[in-house]
Amino acid sequence: MTGAAADRLVAETGVPGLAGVPAPVALTGRTHWLKRLLRRPAAVVALVVIAGFVVTAVFAPWIAPQDPLAASFSEVRKPPSAAHWFGTDEIGRDIASRVVFGARASLLAGVVSVLISLAIGVPAGLLAGYAGGAIDMLLSRLTDALLACPFLILAIALSAFLGPSLTNAMIAIGISATPAFVRLARGTTLAVKAEDFVLAARAIGNAPWRIALRHVLPNIVPPLLVQATLAIAAAVIAEASLSFLGLGQQPPQPSWGSMLNTAKDYLDNAPWMALWPGLSIFLLVLSFNLVGDGLRDALDPREA
C-alpha cells in the first residue's frame, strides 16, 4: 500500500493515525519490535495507564468506595469531599464508584467491538486479496458501500434498528469499523502475495487455503495489530458517544457516556459531574492512541 493509500484509509475510516502503516515485516522481528516499543517512554506510560484501567474494571467491586447504584436523597449533588472524592450525582450516587464501574462498559465495548471487526474483516480481506477476481470485486464494493456511511451515523442507525443496549452498541460499532480491516487486510495480502516466498510455496504445490493461512496471514498481522489498537481507541469514543445519545449502556448501569449526558443538564450547580467521566474517556483513548502510534513506529521496518 502506498503512503497516499494509507492516508486515504485514515481519512475514510476516521481511525486516527493510520497513515504510514508499516509494510509487512518478517515474523523473526517479534522480540525486536516489543523491545523497540518498550523503549518509547510515552508508549510505556500509556501501557501502564491501560493496565490501570483494566485492573480497575476487573476489580471494580473491591476498588469502588461505594455501591455505584445506591441513591441517597440526603446526598444529592454534593461537591467532592472526603466521603465522596468525586462528589455525588443528581440522585446522590457516588460519582467515584460510578466512574470505576464505568471502566467496565468502556473497555468491554472497546475490545469486543474490535474483536468483532477482526473476526469479520480479516477473513474477508484475506479472501478478497488472495482470491481476487469476482470475489474481490464483490467484497470491495461492499466495503466501499459500508465505508461511505459515516462511522458514527452507521453505528447509530444500526443500534437504532437493533435496539438500545450495550451488547447491540458493541455489535453496531464492530460492524461499522469492519470495512477498515477488510481494506487493510486486502491491501497487505496483495502486497505479501507478490513476494517470492508465496510464489515458492505455490510452486511446491501447497493448497491455496494453506498458503493464505500459513504464509500470508502471519505476515499481515503487524499492520493489523496497529490498526486494532487504534480502532480500540475509536471504539471507546464510539461507545461513549452512543451511551451519551442513550443508545449504549442503559441506566441505571454506569457508563461514562451516559454520565456525561446527565451531567450536561446540571452544569450550573454540579459541574464536577461532567469532569471525571470525560477525563477518564480522554485518558483511556489517549493511551490506546499512544500505544498504537508506538506500535506503528516499532513495527516499521525502516526504524529497525
Binding site: 492516508d7 486516527p16 493515525g17 459500508l146 461511505a148 458514527l152 442507525a157
Partner: protein, 314 residues
C-alpha cells in the same frame, strides 16, 4: 482523463447500489410486522391486509427493494411516521443548519491545522513540532461532546460570554447566530484540525525534500517564499483532497455536537428519529449522507487526477 472519470463512475454505481441495499436491509433487523404495529390496538385483519398491500409487505423482499428504490430515485424517501411529513422535506429543512456548522468548522480546522502542520514540518524535531503532535493527539483523543460540555462550563456558565444553546437563523440575526455557532464549530473543527495538521506535516516534509525546493533555495529565493510559494502550494493538493474525505468525521461529529448545543440540524434529526422509532427518517438520513460522501469522494478523486496526471495512469 475521460477514461479515468468513466472508470471511477463504473465503480461508483455498484457501490451506490450496495449502499441502498444495506440501508433497505436495515429495516429487516426490526422485530415484528410493521403493518401490525401501524394497525393500532384493534388489530383489524382487514386494516392489516390493506396496510400490507399498500406497503408491499405481501411481496417478496427483492420486489420490495425495487419498489423502495423506485421511490428513492424519484426523490421519495418515504414519510416520517411521527410528523407525517415527507422525509425529503425534513432533510431539506435541517440540512442548511448543519452545512453552516460544517463550513464554520472547516474554516476553523483549516486555520489551525495547516499553519500548525507547516510549522511542525519546517521546524521538524523542535519544540514546535513536538507541541503540534501533542495537539494532534489531544484533538484525536478528546471526545468532542465532552469538549463541548467543558466549553459550555467555561464560556457560558462561568464567564457568561456565549450562549450554551439557542440556535438563531443567520438571516434573522447574524451576530446571535455566530455567537451560538462559534463553540460548536470549534468543537467540531478541533478534531479535523488535528487530522489536517498530520496530513500537512507529512505532505510538507515530502515536498521539502524535493529537488526543486533545493534548487529554489540554491538560486537565492527567500526561505519564506520557498516554504509558502514552492512547497506549500504543492503540498496543498493532497491536503485538500484528503480533507474532502473528512466529510464523514464532520457529519458524525455534528450528530454529537448538535446534541450538546441543541442545534436543530441534521444530527439532531437522526437522533430524534431514533428515539421516536421513525425509521424512514433514519434510513433517509443515512442514504443522503452516504450518497453525498460517495459523490464528494468521486469529486476529490477527479480533482486529484486533474492536478496530478500520474494518478490517471493507474
Amino acid at each position: 482523463m475521460l477514461t479515468f472519470v468513466a472508470r471511477r463512475i463504473a465503480t461508483i454505481v455498484p457501490t451506490l447500489v450496495f449502499v441502498s441495499m444495506l440501508i433497505f436491509g436495515l429495516q429487516q433487523l426490526l422485530p415484528g410486522d410493521p403493518a401490525k404495529v401501524l394497525a393500532g390496538e384493534e388489530q383489524d385483519p382487514a386494516v392489516i391486509a390493506h396496510l400490507r398491500a399498500t406497503m408491499h409487505l405481501d411481496k417478496p423482499l427483492p420486489i420490495r427493494y425495487l419498489y423502495w428504490m423506485r421511490g428513492v430515485l424519484h426523490g421519495d424517501l418515504g414519510e416520517s411516521q411521527r410528523s407525517q411529513q415527507p422525509v425529503t422535506t425534513l432533510i431539506a429543512e435541517k440540512l442548511p443548519v448543519t452545512l453552516e456548522l460544517a463550513c464554520l468548522a472547516i474554516i476553523i480546522a483549516l486555520a489551525i491545522g495547516i499553519p500548525a502542520g507547516v510549522v511542525a514540518a519546517v521546524k521538524r524535531g523542535s519544540a514546535w513540532d513536538y507541541g503540534a503532535s501533542v495537539f494532534a493527539l489531544w484533538g484525536l483523543s478528546t471526545p468532542n461532546f465532552w469538549l463541548g460540555i467543558m466549553l459550555i462550563l467555561l464560556f457560558s456558565v462561568t464567564l457568561g460570554w456565549l450562549p450554551a444553546s439557542g440556535y438563531v437563523s443567520p438571516f434573522e440575526n447574524l451576530r446571535e447566530n455566530l455567537a451560538a455557532m462559534i463553540m460548536p464549530a470549534f468543537v467540531l473543527g478541533n478534531a479535523i484540525a488535528a487530522v489536517l495538521m498530520r496530513h500537512t506535516r507529512s505532505a510538507m516534509l515530502q515536498v521539502l525534500s524535493q529537488e526543486y525546493v533545493r534548487t529554489a533555495r540554491a538560486k537565492g529565493v527567500s526561505e519564506r517564499a520557498v516554504i509558502l510559494q514552492h512547497a506549500l502550494r504543492n503540498a496543498l493538493i493532497p491536503i485538500i483532497t484528503l480533507g474532502a474525505l473528512e466529510f464523514g468525521t464532520l457529519l458524525s461529529g455534528a450528530v454529537l455536537t448538535e446534541q450538546v448545543f441543541t442545534i436543530p440540524g441534521f444530527g439532531k434529526l437522526i437522533v430524534d428519529a431514533v428515539f421516536n422509532r421513525d425509521y424512514a427518517v433514519v434510513q433517509g438520513v443515512v442514504l443522503v449522507t452516504a450518497t453525498a460522501y460517495i459523490v464528494l469522494n468521486f469529486a476529490a478523486d477527479v480533482a486529484y487526477a486533474f492536478v496530478n496526471p500520474r494518478i490517471r495512469l493507474r
